[in-house]
């Protein structure tokens, strides 16, 4: 009988990442070709609800480990638990996140097996998974497989696999699993302010700005800003305000080019590109971004790219589906207005 396909459900403060359900969906497809059931693994303080949700999203069973000491994800105890549960598995899928990068890495060591992070496509051949993952920040793709060692551990990139529709009529076994729980060696001592807005990796729409955001000479900074650099940043912030307004109307997130981040216009957490985040939204609107190769590497897989740039020769137009030659300060406000009315 074919072995179960395990999916680790990554969650943060009680909420599962959307990509966790994408992974459940991907596991279902694998189950069709490899056989076996889809088994969700949940670890945390209070994850019973998530276990029910996992069933609704397509898991056949959900195994959960609960303990007060597991309130915060810590890679060491979580990995030991997951390694014990999945030690006989053929396949262990996870969504890709800062947590699962550690989890997958440690489980890989514990079970002496391979880890394939950031998978964007999967297929099966001779009972093994052939995955595709980007390398060189997406400038190239690598076909990757784990021919001998088991389980095959893969983390799936956000939005690379379709998210299944939850079905509240689905039923499946939800089992609590008793395993020995190690005390964590490190302790979460606090959380910083979480940035408002949609996370870049999960966003279906991203509106990004570049250095062009600072290029509106008509804007007069307030008199108390006298430093030239601060005046420039103030101008750029007005540009990013327009970008934020458009993103809000579309329910999307705000991105930025490295140039804009390096110039201090916007925090690094918004950076899209080779040294920032690699994103894959349905719609990517690049405003005032010329399209340096490092930036293109981070957004080229967006389904539809719209470029708004003053320079008709900007490389970004090569990748775009729609192009507008114009100043973002002129184009964005009427565009936001127009979309608001739709």
């Amino acid at each position: 009988m074919a072995k179960d396909i395990f999916v680790y459900i990554d969650h943060f403060q009680g909420e599962a990442l959307p990509a966790s359900w994408e992974a459940v969906g991907a596991a279902r497809s694998l189950a069709e070709s490899l056989g076996g059931d889809v088994a969700a693994i949940l670890v945390g303080e209070n994850v019973g609800d998530l276990a029910e949700q996992a069933i609704q999203y397509g898991a056949d069973k959900a195994l959960h480990v609960e303990d007060a000491s597991l309130a915060d994800f810590r890679p060491e105890p979580f990995s030991s638990i997951v390694a014990k549960i999945a030690s006989d598995a053929d396949v262990l899928l996870m969504p890709t996140s800062g947590r699962t990068r550690e989890l997958a890495a440690m489980v890989g060591v514990d079970l002496d097996t391979g880890v394939i992070p950031d998978v964007i496509e999967m297929d099966t051949a001779d009972g093994a998974i052939m995955a595709i993952r980007p390398i060189y920040a997406g400038k190239l793709l690598s076909k990757v497989t784990i021919p001998v060692n088991r389980p095959q551990i893969l983390t799936l990139r956000s939005r690379a696999f379709p998210k299944p529709e939850p079905d509240s009529n689905r039923s499946g076994a939800v089992e609590g699993v008793e395993v020995e729980i190690e005390q964590p060696v490190t302790e979460v001592t606090g959380y910083g302010e979480t940035e408002a807005g949609v996370s870049l990796s999960d966003a279906a729409v991203i509106v990004s700005g570049g250095r062009g955001t600072a290029n509106n000479p008509d804007l007069e900074p307030p008199a108390d800003i006298t430093d030239e650099k601060e005046q420039e940043i103030w101008r750029a912030q007005q540009g990013f305000k327009l970008i934020g307004e458009l993103a809000d109307v579309l329910g999307g997130a705000v991105g930025a080019s490295r140039a804009a981040v390096d110039a201090g216009y916007i925090p690094y957490s918004h950076q899209v590109g080779q040294t920032g985040k690699v994103v894959s939204p349905d719609l990517y609107i690049a405003a005032g971004i010329s399209g340096a190769i490092q930036h293109l590497a981070g957004m080229r897989t967006a389904k539809t790219i719209v470029a708004i740039n003053k320079d008709p020769d900007a490389p970004i137009f090569k990748l775009a589906r729609f192009g507008v030659v114009g100043d973002l300060f002129d184009v964005l406000p009427p565009l936001t207005e127009e979309l608001k009315n739709r």
């Binding site: 391979g114 060189y136 190239l140 690598s142 990757v144 060696v185 302010e193 996370s199 897989t301």
Partner: protein
Amino acid sequence: MNIVVCVKQTPDTAATVTVEGGEVSWGDAPLVLNPWDEYAVEEALQIKEEHGGQVTALSLGPEDAQEALKQSLAMGCDQAILISDPAFAGLDTLQVSKVLAAAIEKVGDPDLVLFGRSSVDSDTGITGTQVARRLGFPSLILVSKVVSLDPAGGKIEVERMLEEGRQQVAGPLPAVLSVVKEINEPRYPSFMGIRKASKAEIPIWSGADLGISDDLSAAVHWPEIIAPPKIETEVEMIEGDTAEEKAKKLAQRLAEEKVI
């Protein structure tokens, strides 16, 4: 503080990377210290400057892969060691972490092991954590700030950048950290450092030196590297006399194509 920083040599991020006949090529772009590792080296140097000690740069690669280590030395690392053995070619992170862990043990008694968040070529971001697991050290990845460091008490507290926001974590030393760009601004090598680095004879440790005799075989295989499908988009330029007109047409086209 005895600090080990693990670095890798990668093509410059500005390089146009292509694949021909299954071989990856980056033209005549230079090989450089992996950009993420620069932050790790800088952090190691800053910690040393504050707490004293020594910084050792380690790199696993072919015998001529000395650029990353030379750069690390020029920035101010005290010593650099290249780990190189024909048997180490084509390893995956599972095995690389085994080799690095052995090398770190050979360096001896580290208080901190630093990595960049990932390498810009293979971009897995898991090697540091695997090394931590093998050494039995806690793993703290995506660190954006060392909040406090108490070498005598053997404690460290860091701030990490998660998708969801910042998180503070405290743990014991020795620990393995991977760092992100926000942590610091890497220094340029000094001229004195450049002189020292260019004269340095970098010792090479082989598998035998590390006591690794078992046959290392990668669990992960990558049978083929391909160019991403060329995105054949014919850009449709939205024309119009005014910005308003262009904006209106663009919204209309996005709706027609069901993008929104």
